[in-house]
């Protein structure tokens, strides 16, 4: 009996995320924390399972240790399957050659055998860089209806922003006529979301041709898509409307976190029909002490709050001491903020300890840049970290 899957997802999770600086020193970008209890990769993985795609290859390369651990057997996302499920695909040694993943297309090329094992009709390519909720099965329906060979998800951006994205120029039927990478004078506002559906056979063919071309940069946006367009392949743009955010920079990561706050947040995690799954640790519920105050914030298990928290997101097991203040900030797992310390307009990574009376950042009104503290750093008593600074190692007085 031929066992097969209609659609296999390939999730590109090898990116370094160099514009997140200290936050990605030890971990890959998809493993970066977001929204108090998630990591970026929870979003594409949850989207897959919510869209009935149960076979996902996760391509890792840069600092994969935590990511491997985090994904594990895929159980938190219901992706522990006897046939299919989630598979981590690091670069490997082949019979004839050994290679790092040279580009996005090359990474997929090197795993053609993995995809072929499931005899899929369609391959969906995803990236681990974005925060969004999307039903891929609807995109697949669109792809089938249009009888397309490739479909690229697009989102409407403003004309000013358009020159930061890959822009699709389409006809009225949404067939792609032209693709421009970061155009100076954009002709449309349909930005590529980096989500592609291909007919599997067509994809294999183009990946092999791309690999054979020594000139190629082995990149989907730069090579595969343009060459398919040149050949007049049937390529369509699937319009997506809804929240979608690239969290590739400190500013955008901070903003995406803040988008969860407020009376009517831009992005809602409370939707029971589209749950986002994550790996949890066994902590008791959060405890809010006497004398504390929490305004407009998101907190999760294990937090212990004695101080003041405003417009902030606190991940698992964060402790805020008496008279400490956390304002307009994002704190990752296990951060300890001791008595009287202040954190404003900052992102503070895992396991950071902020000692008594230390001060990190400036108020959002005064500071022009977000302050960032990298993981495992200890900020000494009374120490002041100026607004916009990035601290990656312990600072001696």
């Amino acid at each position: 009996m031929l066992n097969k899957k209609e659609c296999v997802a390939m999730l590109l999770a090898g990116g370094q995320g160099s514009r997140l600086y200290a936050l990605t020193n030890k971990i890959a970008k998809p493993a970066v924390s977001y929204g108090a209890k998630y990591r970026i990769i929870d979003f594409p993985l949850s989207n897959c399972i919510n869209s009935n795609i149960d076979t996902v290859g996760v391509l890792t390369q840069y600092q994969p240790l935590l990511l491997n651990d985090y994904i594990g057997n895929g159980q938190p996302w219901d992706l522990d399957r006897t046939f299919g499920g989630v598979h981590i695909l690091p670069p490997y040694q082949g019979k004839n050659k050994t290679d790092w993943y040279k580009g996005t297309a090359n990474a997929i090329y090197q795993n053609i055998d993995f995809m072929k094992r499931y005899h899929p009709e369609y391959i969906i390519i995803l990236s681990g860089d974005h925060i969004y909720k999307m039903d891929y099965s609807k995109m697949l329906d669109f792809h089938k209806e249009k009888n397309a060979e490739a479909t690229i998800a697009v989102i409407n951006v403003s004309l000013q922003e358009a020159s930061r994205f890959g822009i699709m120029n389409t006809d009225q039927e949404m067939r792609i006529q032209e693709f421009e990478e970061k155009p100076a004078k954009p002709k449309s506002t349909k930005a590529s979301m980096g989500i592609y559906i291909f007919n599997a056979e067509v994809l294999y063919q183009y990946l092999e041709a791309d690999e054979a071309n020594p000139e190629s940069q082995n990149d989907f946006g730069k090579n595969i898509i343009p060459s398919m367009l040149r050949d007049g392949r049937l390529m369509y743009a699937y319009p997506f409307s809804g929240y979608w955010k690239d969290v590739g920079t400190i500013d955008s990561l901070w903003e995406a976190n803040m988008d969860l706050l407020g009376e009517n947040p831009k992005f809602d995690l409370f939707d029971k029909m589209w749950k986002i799954y994550s790996r949890n640790e066994a902590y008791p519920p959060q405890f809010i002490c006497e004398g504390s105050k929490i305004e407009n914030s998101l907190l999760t298990v294990g937090c212990y709050i004695e101080g003041y928290v405003k417009n902030s997101l606190l991940s698992q097991n964060v402790q805020i001491g008496k008279n400490a203040k956390v304002i307009d900030s994002v704190l990752f797992d296990n951060v300890i903020v001791e008595e009287g310390a202040t954190i404003e307009y900052s992102i503070v990574a895992e396991n950071v300890v902020v000692k008594k009376q230390a001060k990190i950042g400036e108020s959002k009104q005064k500071a022009n840049k977000i302050t960032v503290i990298g993981s495992d750093v200890t900020i000494l008593e009374d120490y002041k970290v100026a607004a916009g600074q990035m601290i990656e190692k312990d600072v001696r007085k």
Partner: protein
Amino acid sequence: MSVLGLIFSNIHSKEVFEITQKRTIASTPIGGRYRLIDFSLSCMVNAGISNIGIITKSNYQSLMDHIGSGKEWDLARKRGGLVILPPYGVSDSVYNTRLEAIKSIISFIKHSTSEYVILSDCYHVCNIDYKDLLKYHHEKGADITCVYHECLVCADDFMPINRLALNEEERVIEMQVLSTFSGTANVSMDIWVMKKELLEKLVDEAIVTNYRSFNRDILSKNLNNLRIFGYKFEGYFGNISSIQTYYDVNKNLLKKEIRDELFYQPGRSIYTKVRDSAPTKYGLESKVVNSLIADGCMIEGEVYNSVIFRGTKIGKGAIIKDSILMQDTIISEGKHLEYVITDKNVVIENKKELIGNSEYPVYVKKGGIL
């Protein structure tokens, strides 16, 4: 050394009858995100016990839903793992006592390859180190070790207690089931360890002689023939034996030292079913004081000295004091609750005020709309 864990999920269900109308005592929600059985199960798992049977009798749907395959406790195992043992008729009726329950699963026990067995009820909120218990059992050269704690029993506690008298080497010399008592006593916590072989032998004898009570007919009759020792548990023990004690134990979890002891023991976490709720959201005008808040809540009102379970919504201007709100309770704007226990899925939308007192908290049953 391999150990089989046996958990009785129903034995004390009648005592907290309000909450156990539609569930077992084992699946009674506690502490914001847990069910009572999480404590017994996690203690076993943390001692390396990976072969556990849960004995059920009735109302065990919510228990099965909570336990699932056991994967949250790392018990979805190919070898051993977790087995739910539904009632199996001993002559046409379902068992009534602990001993009859054991009789009904004797083939499961005999089939197990474990050398030892730990039997436990699950009305406990405590974190016992079973490794230490097993070590003690060996050191004493005991046939049976019974876990007990010293406590002050009040005359108006109507629940019968199983009082132990021990000699200086902690050997049990007398056991009495008392229905009225007042003063300090060593009370059995209904957790025992013994060789599996011995349990089988005792149960076989009981079948022949038609004994019915584990404590009275097996333990107290054998105090001279068997070396039965007491293991004194000195940590926090929240004993759920009535709706009042249910309320009190939840309130006790607001004390840091108790939470630290229960939940932050290195290598001995308490596991529970993951619900994948969003983080909890605090509104602009929220005020929360001295409260335990689970994930997935939306808090816009004021909460004082309370335990709030997963998925609860508290509207603007609502005031919640000294209350226990179980999962998915909805309190609409401006409501005032004091000393209230709301069961799962309760909606308070019409009643302006609901006020009990610390001895008699108001209880609103599952799905109630007031």
